[in-house]
Symmetry: C2
């Protein structure tokens, strides 16, 4: 029994490596194929139609590697494209929204949950719909934080500017008395300490990457799909562009060396190993 095929993970860029890091920690035997659409990042500022088309293309890239499961490690794609992906491919498809939703409902004591994310994620209202579908009387307070991703990518994980920006974005949520906050973007866990300092110790921060890896483990276990092999699992990283600072930001997300990264030509719509970038 079992299934030795890799888990496929895609994201608009490299933020989804925070999800890969959690999968590696929780499921060290599993092989992983990652695709980051770095040539078209970010998705959070684009229309749902375009994000849906991109997500389908990203998933087709993963399917060529015979993955046993697809993880949309991108909140924007999970918000707008998950149903399209589930209908289009013959493997289980997971997003990063529902695991955080369930964890937040378990965590809250006063039934008042905050959600922060990109403008696109918040505009879709997906978190609010999924939270209230599972618990009708839950209060949900949402806020787009468009500057958090650029701040993380600039490496300003602390300091006056980042703390001041956090205060502007988060103050309305504090006033509403939230006791639980869903970090609805793969980059936001890197701002955990700034966010925790703003709210104080009473806040419960929900890290979607952690919760998603638990959901993946449940799916693998309940379907007998775990990798039976004991040997070293394979980790393959594909991106549609390799820009400056790629290695630095990527290793910051992954928390370890990236290893070998391959570039894909999306216009050809196939994973080419033509240009390798050994890091």
């Amino acid at each position: 029994m079992g299934d030795a095929r890799p888990i496929g993970v895609f994201d608009s860029g490299i933020g989804g490596l925070t999800v890969v890091r959690e999968i590696m920690a929780l499921l060290p035997n599993e092989s992983i194929v990652y695709f980051g659409d770095t040539a078209r990042v970010p998705y959070g500022t684009k229309s749902p139609e375009v994000v849906r088309a991109f997500a389908l293309q990203d998933t087709r890239c993963l399917m060529k590697h015979d993955v046993k499961m697809v993880v949309a490690a991108c909140h924007t794609a999970s918000s707008v494209a998950l149903d399209d992906l589930k209908g289009a491919f013959p493997v289980p498809v997971h997003g990063v929204i529902e695991p955080g939703v369930r964890a937040a409902l378990e965590a809250t004591r006063n039934n008042t949950i905050g959600v922060i994310g990109t403008r696109a994620t918040i505009l879709t209202g997906t978190y609010e719909r999924k939270l209230t579908a599972l618990r009708k009387n839950v209060r949900v307070e949402s806020r787009a934080c468009p500057l958090f991703v650029p701040l993380v990518e600039e490496g300003w994980l602390d300091g006056d500017i980042t703390r001041g920006t956090a205060a502007i974005y988060l103050d309305p949520l504090k006033e509403k008395g939230i006791d639980t906050l869903i970090l609805g973007c793969t980059h936001y866990p890197l701002l955990k300490s700034v966010i925790r300092d703003f709210f104080g110790n009473g806040i419960r921060l929900i890290d979607s990457a952690e919760e998603t890896s638990k959901t993946i483990r449940e799916t693998l276990q309940s379907n007998g799909m775990e990798n039976p092999a004991r040997s070293d699992p394979e980790r393959l990283f594909f991106v549609s562009d390799i820009p400056a600072h790629f290695q630095q930001v990527g290793e910051q997300c992954l928390g370890m060396p990236l290893g070998s990264v391959h570039q894909v030509n999306l216009e050809m719509d196939e994973m080419s190993r033509g240009r390798n970038h050994e890091t």
Copy 2:
């Protein structure tokens, strides 16, 4: 004599509309076709190879509209792709770098010029090379300001966060004693007052959009390519995505209503009028 064909202008997104605004002000008789690659914006964080491929594709889109001239109204594309474009198409191609370079050399009194732009623009060193090619002993101080574009797109054109960020980015340039600063990104003119306040009145700010429109006028006049028609010129706007906030940010850049905007499917590599968005 003259040439009634439109001027083609492209940008990674809608920031290039600041260039269109200046062309319309200086050359009100000229028809304009604009293409903004909003599905893949921004270019400033991507590799030169990918930016070059995108810029060629953008220009092919414009050429289908029989333009008499192509303007790369994007500093990143102008930095890395201008020579490729000049060789590939049978019309004059202008970027937004050289007009600013010439204006800065005319403006400086102490021969010390600052340049700010996206990380990609600054990393290429294009401004520095072009400035020192025209004047060997000029001192050039460059600084990437990656948070300026997200701040403008968030609408934070003033306030503590924007002023604090500007101080962090610009302080090293002030210390070097620059008396002239090239705003090397289409979004930056919207931060003019914050930048001027930081430096004080002694600074000369070079707005590339203004300078580029002057260069375009010179080229048209010296080649007898001005539009001889007296009737209302046509302005066509094409984008590869129409996201939320598009109209608001677009009209902020253009300083007037956008009119009719058409969406292009880049995968089809042709300008489709299938989805119109009347604004």
